[in-house]
Amino acid sequence: METEGAQTPRLELRGITKAYPGVLANDSINLKILPGEIHALLGENGAGKSTLVKIIYGVLKADSGDMYWDGNPLDIPNPHAARKTGIGMIFQHFSLFEAMTVTENIALGLPGRQNMADLAKRITEISENYGLPLQPDRHVHTLSVGEKQRIEIVRCLLQNPKLLIMDEPTSVLTPQEADKMFETLRRLADEGVSILYISHKLDEIKSLCHKATILRGGKYISECDPTVETAKSLAEMMIGTNLTAPKHTDDAKRGAVRLKAHNLSLESTDQFGVDLNLLNFEVHGGEILGIAGVAGNGQVELLEVLSGESRAENAEQLLFDQQPIGKLNPIERRKMGIAFVPEDRLGHGSVPDMSLVDNAFLSAYSPKKLISNGLIDTRKTTDYAEKIVEKFDVRTAGVSHTAGSLSGGNLQKFIVGREMLQSPQLIIIAHPTWGVDAGAAAAIHQAIIDLAAEGAAILVVSQDLDELFAISNRIAVIAEGRLSVARAVQELTIEEIGLLMGGTTGTADKKEIESVA
């Protein structure tokens, strides 16, 4: 490390500042990345990580501050200039074109004109060379999330980048896929490529990254060596306070079966959807059942059939307190005391163009009695929205703002809060802490556990295994529309779950190829 300290940094930022109306997103931030270094950028939601990398990549312009590249002043007016300099970026939300082929997508990210046949050959070469299998002629909308990410990586690699920026790259991958990607990254670092790595997953950062820069509230906090820190100490640096792990509920308090699925099947209406195939599970009162799985293995369909957006084949396939609910619509289910946090925050979870007050009303009007004499009780609804904002620490300028104006993590907190504060008997939660930072995630986990302690039955669908292990009593794995037997967390390891999740993805790909051909 001493010798590296004398090296000229590949990229150095000095005093980068960027202000938005009302917020200082970046407040004179310093950052140094050496050649061949994997550098983590850590911080909560709203700490200014995304703003900073967008400035480096030329999507945004800093108000003040300087950038240096190999010691020389650097000016990046737009992403084209960034790529020319040798900066590549892999976005959290893929910048891919669904209607086009892999080759066309990659051509769009490269300068100048390409011969498509040559490009396809180079894609195959690079993807084989780095262990990132890709078929150049496939249309993107037929690919899995992991494959889509490979397109982004290959697109960057084709330009021989000297600095690769990755924004939460593993949030969509299985543990095995993530390990494979780490191998690729380590190899790139050995070849001298610098990597700026953004992630919420602290364990990952500890095992992968050489250095970490921590941001909090738009300010530079410190630079540290993540290999000598613990996940807990890193998280505490990020949020600035002490963190307490969520406490498990006592299994002895487990009550009667509240939700029971018996041979639950559903034929997907989407051509690229997954059919549910004879699912069986039970959720007891006071229990949290976790459902793990790689996205696109039937989670969407399972959540839809549980919420009532699609109906089960017959009503008895789904029982709530012994009553058949398989044919009920979402409103009827909500009236029975069931609440839902859907996967899609904008659209299913909220109406983006409506205020937080209206959004609070839409799902809570019946349990919270927000209607008086057939009219909306505005006072009560506003109070309820304000209570959600306060209890779940939703950062917003006021409840009259639209749901769409909230950042992803804050909207997630609002939706989770809106459902949890209805004191439901059964709550179905998809990705409870998706896009939420460590501090808020801990608070949401604790709230879920507290709700279970009050006797509610809870079903959590998530891809984040650490999360499922932290809160669930039992975990089942969904793969290709089938559900494994739920087992107590004490008997399970992450590796076992990972194998259940990943063991079937290969066949899923094959099935997709067949359906396309």
Binding site: S95, L96, E98, T142
Partner: protein
Amino acid sequence: MSGMDWIVPVILTVITAATPLVFAGIGELITEKSGVLNLGVEGMMVVGAVTAFVTATVTGSYILAVLAAALSGAFMAFLFGILTLSLMANQVATGLALTLFGVGLSALIGQDFVGVPVDAIAKLNIPGLSDLPVVGPIIFGQDPLVYLSLVIVALVSWFLYKTKAGLILRAVGDSHDAAHSIGYSVIGIRYLAVMFGGAMSGIGGAYLSLAYTPMWAENMTAGRGWIALALIVFATWKPGLVLIGAYMFGGITILQLHAQAAGLDLPSQILSMLPYVATVVVLVLISKDESRIRKHAPACIGKIFHPAA
């Protein structure tokens, strides 16, 4: 020979009826491929028609007339662009307004030109070739705009699927956020696409007032702009099918006239409905196959782009 006597004029009139649809359709195809829905085709066509007619009667030059029509259409589209792309107004409402505006504006401009006679654009005449039976008048005896329309369809097809610029245009229509994050100027590209669409609609209008019925009458486009819009859905956003569809829809219009002439007592309204019925049927059919829509329909169509980064 009496059979032949009947067929050749029918084919000739089908070509003249189809050509304005080809122009307007291929222009709107480019607009829509970039992710913009401009419902103002009818308005841009009718302004193109009056501009061409006025220019032709005043200057006597048909080349100038067609150029002026293209410019006027592009200018109308530019107005649409300012409202929807820069000021982010709703595209559907703005497009409808553009049509109403165009119909009114053209009536105003054309006030003094109603009933003024003008010669139709001269048809190609290659001694020897154009006199051949059947193929002569059909292949070698058209006016220059008919040939131009075919060349443009070929060029658009080549542009969209063989050039990088075309790939970028389709990319902008497929996901403007992704295109923006890669660094393409979504708004700039859309301005160009919208204005190309306007220019083509203008030429389509010019063909009506200079070749199809060489005269000016208020509202003379008579719904052809709407047929052009329907045509694009019918063609599932493919240039080749736009051409085929235009000739089919043009054919239906002509069929209606000839059916009446032949004494067939079919209400003309039924036949006027056919293009739209065909479009609805095609919509239902392609909706069943989602992957087809996903591959060809621009996913961002009609969506406002906020370059908020």
